[in-house]
Subunit: 118 residues, 2 copies
């Protein structure tokens, strides 16, 4: 059961303030543009920042799990992983991953506006 059929990868970091937060956002944009966005079935990467400057999420959406698996199987994983490591090493502050397990997701429920349930 998936409400939109899409496959999501959720990348999740804590950071030590707004400067590192901004740098990590720009690093995620560059990583998408250099390593991900040109594969078939890539839909979008939306980058969320917490208003308190402590956290960054990157939610990458693929049209289907099959598209993601094709990306995984055919892309240069070693190059991409090295680029991610280089981007993290280049930050002026600290960023710590908060992922647990494989960051592979689907949307199972969506609740829109409506009357209060009694």
């Amino acid at each position: 059961m998936s409400t939109d059929g899409s496959f999501y990868s959720i990348i999740d970091y804590t950071v030590d303030g707004t400067k590192t937060q901004h740098e990590l956002v720009e690093a995620f944009v560059e990583l998408q543009e250099r390593w991900v966005r040109f594969y078939p079935g890539y839909h979008s990467a939306r980058i969320f920042v917490s208003l308190d400057g402590s956290r960054v999420y990157n939610i990458v959406r693929w049209e289907s799990e099959a598209d993601y698996r094709h990306f995984e199987a055919t892309s240069d994983t070693a190059g991409r992983v090295a680029a991610i490591r280089g981007a993290l090493d280049g930050l002026s502050g600290k960023a710590e991953p908060r992922m647990s397990g494989k960051p592979h997701y689907k949307v199972v429920r969506e609740v829109g506006p409506g009357p209060r349930r009694a």
Copy 2:
């Protein structure tokens, strides 16, 4: 700078398996329907589950931060917090929050499909 002007609350839990994961999803749906979805500016709650059964995200979107602040100021926070606690207590397994700081977010960048950046 926000790409869509929206305000997001990101709720983030680890769980001890697919049974608890499913129960927590249903609890989040019920909490939205009883306590949140009828306030002005409520846009949606999208509930993500990890394919490995270990994690649940609930991403609640408001049209604007002002709409969220109005909800915060005018809703029954004590009742809602008690309902959340009751829902968590009613799970058959364990669920642990992974939030850090206030879970208030905006989207600052979105990367769509495109050519590889050189």
